[in-house]
């Protein structure tokens, strides 16, 4: 009995092996699947899997093989995993990357091997400028764009001064620079906190209150956003100084932030209620496939990455060795993005709209995010001039 079982197993393996090795599209997916920010990686994986479901689990008639790798939110680990995907798995595409510092560490490996890398979240300024590459595309944004949109909104509101707080790593610096690039009022203070280990922001909040700034801007993705809002509310500052955010309130943090998040505006390129047909289907099917969960912008960007890959492979009729033709096709952004149509800039970063989002109670009585207004239309990042591709 036992022998028969092993034999069957061995046969199944023998049969399965050639099917995947022969002619499939291989995609490596690097994201964070362990530790406190694993929920973000899971959301990206869920959305990517949903995109494959919508594509019938095939790209141009070929089966798709996705290899998920955990970067543990560490640049060195991310680089190792990228090397493994490129050198030993020989993937056709690498997708993912939540964290700018992880992406920057992994970038060279992918570019040197001429493997297409699609960032589904991280958008460090270097990637848009000096380090831009024909093999790198983004389905998200350049880090400065979203906070820059928030800065524009703060001008509209007539805010005169701001105190900036963010984490001390590549994205944190881009984000605060982004607000400063558009905000017309006075920046009275700027604090960076140790990332990702510092979770208590009492010293920074005290300084912000004592600075007499009219407003506070923060960027704290993941669990840090929950902690910041907790402490902001507990210190009573919520009643005194309004808060403006980028990437701090999303569908993953909202169930933990609860009422602390009400009334705090954020800027985003994708919101769950954007009224296009693809987005409606995505949000509905996601909630059906993963009961109890709601998709985030991280997921929407991962979904778009799958669609972008599909468009490129279909254009070359499945011949993934035609890299130039695939690049040319991807530059057209010829797919139905969940955020609505967008164009690529010369540096392969989307030129896109940014929306103002607010926290409201939805029909189920749950807190959810809602589009309030369009802050800026067809916004292009300010680093594209530094990119050598024209």
């Amino acid at each position: 009995m036992k022998k028969a079982f092993w034999l069957a197993g061995a046969m199944a393996l023998a049969l399965a092996q050639p099917a995947t090795a022969a002619d499939s599209i291989k995609i490596g997916f690097v994201s964070t699947f362990s530790g406190p920010t694993a929920v973000i990686g899971n959301d990206m994986r869920n959305s990517f899997e949903l995109a494959l479901d919508h594509l019938g689990r095939k790209i141009d008639g070929k089966p798709v093989e996705v290899i998920y790798e955990d970067d543990q939110q560490k640049p060195d680990v991310g680089k190792q995993k990228t090397e493994k995907l490129v050198q030993s798995d020989k993937v056709d595409f690498i997708v993912g990357y939540i964290w700018s510092n992880v992406l920057l560490a992994s970038l060279k490996t992918a570019v040197d091997s001429k493997t297409f890398l699609i960032s589904a979240n991280a958008g460090p300024s270097q990637l848009a400028g000096d380090l831009c590459s024909p093999y790198v595309f983004s389905t998200s944004w350049q880090n400065d764009q979203t906070p820059a949109a928030m800065g524009l909104y703060m001008n509209q509101k007539g805010v005169k001064s701001v105190f900036l707080i963010g984490p001390n790593y590549a994205a944190g610096k881009d984000m605060l620079a982004g607000v400063k690039s558009t905000f017309k009022g006075e920046v009275v203070g700027e604090e960076y906190t140790v990332w990702p280990s510092q979770l208590d922001f009492s010293a920074e909040l005290t300084k912000a209150r004592n600075s007499k700034a009219e407003s506070i801007f923060v960027f704290y993705p993941g669990a840090a956003g929950v902690q910041f809002l907790n402490q902001y509310a507990q210190a009573g500052i919520k009643a005194q100084i309004p808060l403006y955010t980028a990437f701090t309130i999303d569908e993953l943090s909202l169930p933990l932030q609860k009422d602390n998040a009400i009334g705090i505006p954020g800027a985003q390129e994708w919101v769950n209620d954007l009224p296009n047909a693809e987005n409606k289907k995505f949000v509905e099917d996601y909630r059906k496939k993963y009961p109890g969960l709601r998709p985030t912008y991280y997921g929407a960007q991962a979904y778009d990455a799958a669609q972008l890959i599909n468009s490129a492979v279909v254009a070359v009729k499945g011949d993934v060795t035609k890299k130039d033709a695939m690049k040319a096709e991807m530059e057209k952004a010829n797919f139905k993005s969940l955020r609505g149509p967008f164009k690529y800039g010369n540096n392969h970063i989307p030129i896109q709209n940014f929306y103002l989002q607010d926290v409201v109670k939805d029909a189920d009585g749950q807190l959810s995010l809602k589009t309030v207004a369009t802050i800026v239309k067809d916004d292009q990042d300010k680093f594209h001039d530094k990119c050598s591709m024209k």
Partner: protein, 305 residues
Amino acid sequence: MYLVVEQLLNGLQFGLLLFLLAAGLTLVFGIMDFVNLAHGSLYMMGAYFAATFVAWTGSFVLGALMALGATLLLGIVLEYVALRHLYGRDHLDQVLATFGLILFFNDAVRLIWGPAGLALPLPAWLTVPVQIIPGVYYPAYRLMIIAVALAVAAMLYLVVMRTRVGMLIRAGASNREMIGALGINIKLLFTLVFGLGAALAGLAGLMQAPILTVQIGMGENILILAFVIIVIGGIGSIRGAFMAAIFVGIIDTMGRAFLPDLLRKVLSGAAASTAAPALSSMLIYLLMAIILVLRPEGLFPAAKR
């Protein structure tokens, strides 16, 4: 001026919280000569228990008390089932075994509560800022942490210095074999001490929970600080842990609060902004290194044989 007062309070609050964690660690390390890396897991369990019980009972205080009892029980069970078999082994074995426990607790939490973490909301009466001196407001909840931790420190002092159990604990710290030979049930004493340490860690975890989020691995970063504190204060010394925790809390907070502005006077804005957080997080390790050079036994070493 007000800014300094507020930042001092922030440092004091952080330090006292660290003291709760370090007190349990120093008792177990000093008296039982046992290295317990899983102390941070007990801190995490305290937070998870509190989030669960507060949601069940609807009362913050009741839920917190239940969580305290649950961590105490968990500590006793853990000592009885696993750790007492490791007392005779060398420190490396203990480190390995308790590191295994960290992995065990992290995955147990993932199975029971899921990977997303929990929120522990505060009751409304604790979310208001309190005016401590005219013009200075301070979060009520952080004041409560200061009050509770000071009360616990005072109680701990009384228990250790003024009661019979405390006498045995101190005797055990100076010479374990001797008090065993005098007919004291040292196994029971160890179980009690470990349970007490677990409850203190649980208390730190549940009090920190509303400020941070309740999440897997929350005890690991803070455990390193707790080890720094017991090294600075002197291993096995409650008084040392208390003083060192307050030092570390205040130095860490003051560094974060004032170092960036100081550096900006010397360096360019961007370089100062980048260097300051890195430097300020190094300050406490610098302090530890200096103390190890000048007083290797720590600031307030426990009396040895």
